[in-house]
Amino acid sequence: MAGKVLMRGTHVLGEAAVRAGCRAYFGYPITPQNELPEYMAAAFAKMDDAVFVQAESEVASINMVMGASIAGARVMTSSSSPGISLKQEGISYIAAMELPAVIVNMMRGGPGLGNIAPAQGDYFQATKGGGHGDYRLIVLAPAYGQEIADMTRQAFDLADHYRTPVMILGDGMMGQMMEPVEFPEPLAVKSLPRKDWILDGAKGRPSRVIRSLWLDTALEEELNWRLARKYEMISRELADQEMYLVDDAELIVVAYGTAARIAKGGVHRLRETGLKVGLFRPKTLWPFPSARLATLSRHIDQMVVFEMSTGQMVEDVRLAVEGRCEVSFYGRPGGVVATPEEIARVLSSAYHRKASFEGGGSRSWQAQGYTNLGSA
Amino acid sequence: MKGRIEIDEERCKGCGLCVAVCPKKQIEISDRLNTKGYYPACFQEAMAPDPDKIECTGCALCAVCCPDVAIEVYRETKDESKDKDQEKEG
């Protein structure tokens, strides 16, 4: 298909994966991402060098991903929040064994069984571990259909390049939205660089072991520092963001994914009334674009972090800002989708409150959904 | 058919399975410690035995049972055995 096509987010992801050379998919049904395994099943059925298995659980599927990656494949799994919890053990192992893999989380309401509506409650899980041990997960956060296509391609390349798992963090809404998307040309799998570390049988070479058990603590420490150096390099090279109307902004809303699109609508409405507001949208949640945010914090008055949760990314914003400007938080958890008007009202309140309470004052905003966790 | 075994005393852990299984009872647990702290098994006919009195037939039951692959087994070939028989008769 050439040119722009109208496609829902989950299908975009699937098509982009196939074009990125993904030839193995293992997954398990869970709403709201079922269209992705279905797409992969249909696409792979037409190819004779691709493997699709609907596994018996998310646990089984992440381990199949492990095996396929060990065998050298570009491989993907997908799930939604509770299923991603099940995958954490496998993700830790994949990171420790320095295996490439792409893991897609279309977030839904939680915790627990939650609901199938879109939410952003898995930020901590994605960026602060989730699995045990000292590892990091590259986390890409698309907000538009086109970005889903671009970031999926990028995810496979990053995974192979750094030999590390990569997560694409979306939500139920963007998975279902249909938008016009343009795909790049499909990659020829044979053109991909050969992986000289995989297990494919010790023919003409010594046998190899791919492992994460290092009983000798000196060796385990060495692995930990090696991973840490890799993550540091990734942090320097990969952090990315969208900065929208920030140059003259006095207030910036910080949001990612679907929340950022809603926030952008709020920003438009306020700009029409003359308020100087802008949007900072992290595109990588790990590595978090702290440096850019820190620079911004030097010449703006305040940031309002908007998340579809009770506040997770806000902590990373506060860390990046280091107290240079005020940071407050607005959240709608549980699968509730706010409107741009609502965000405009929240930003406007914050904007005017700051203007009328220069140098401190009480913050007793009790509007539903408005919370100010921690100190600003 | 005569045979001979060689026990690697450093690999042996003194488990005693070979002792129990040898049909000719030619393996015993020794009273010397190896460097790992085990009392290894030792082959009673290891020291230049009288060729006519060799009990070991090279059946290899000991080696089959040995968990640590500590035993190598040697067995007369049919020709060697025939030569010996001919020698005896002649």
Partner: protein, 245 residues
């Protein structure tokens, strides 16, 4: 004299860390002998368990990939599906395959994955110090059943091989032991058949091998072998459970 018994080529020189009289050592050797005899060393990939045999990659001179506890069947599925002309085997203890790994094993068998599983059943959790296993016998004393396994409180032993026999995709399931030269040679034959099933691309094959654990059973190696013969085989009889190869 001609040497008639020596170390198989697929077994590295590294001395085993296993306890004196442990069945793992014997079974490792048998698997290595079979790999040698079938000439498949250069295209074999093994998946060891979490358990005493977690260090199996120190002994087998083939490509080996660690899996999380219980997940070997799923990891093996991923490898085999991507590299169908390689020989992929899992090597698992009773906890790995029949407690935490039950789902992955039954489903791999149901799907008829072309992998070979070696199931070492010593009715106890060895590496972690002797706790109850899914195959611990009623009345058997372990560190978590100090008064002996009581089915009402601790459940009954699981016969995973019988369950796998029902699975449509399993082609060959046999239970053997390594308590005597005769049994050891039968085990080797079973292992060879299980690998041959994969070579012939038939389906899932598994050999369950009753194996002594002298240390955690608190017996001498000779007594432990006898306990397998006299007690374990009452709950886990040596037999061919399924053979449609």
């Amino acid at each position: 004299m001609k040497k008639v018994f020596s170390r198989p080529e697929s077994l590295k020189e590294t001395p085993f860390h296993y306890c004196p009289g442990c069945g793992h050592s014997i079974i490792h050797r048998l698997v290595a002998e079979v790999i040698d005899e079938l000439g498949i060393r250069e295209r074999t990939i093994g998946v060891p368990p979490a358990g005493c045999a977690v260090l199996a990659y120190n002994y087998f001179d083939v490509d080996m990939a660690e899996a999380p506890h219980g997940r070997a069947a799923a990891v093996a599925t991923g490898i085999k599906r991507m590299l169908p002309d390689r020989i992929v085997f899992t090597y698992q203890g009773d906890g790995d395959i029949a407690a935490i790994g039950t789902a992955e094993t039954i489903h791999a068998a149901s799907r008829g994955e072309r992998v070979t599983s070696i199931f070492v059943n010593n009715a106890i959790y060895g590496m972690t110090g002797g706790q109850m296993a899914p195959t611990t016998l009623p009345g058997q004393v372990t560190t978590t059943t100090p008064g002996g396994r009581a089915p009402l409180r601790d459940g009954n032993p699981i016969d995973l091989s019988e369950m796998l026999g029902v699975a449509a995709g399993s082609v060959y399931i046999e239970r053997t032991s390594v308590t005597s030269p005769k049994n050891i040679l039968k085990t080797k034959k079973a292992i060879k058949k299980a690998f041959t099933v994969q070579l012939e691309d038939r389906g899932f094959a598994l050999v369950e091998i009753l194996s002594p654990c002298p240390t955690n059973w608190k017996m001498t190696p000779v007594d432990a072998a006898r306990w397998v013969d006299e007690s374990m085989t009452k709950i886990f009889p040596l037999k061919v459970i399924k053979d449609v190869a």
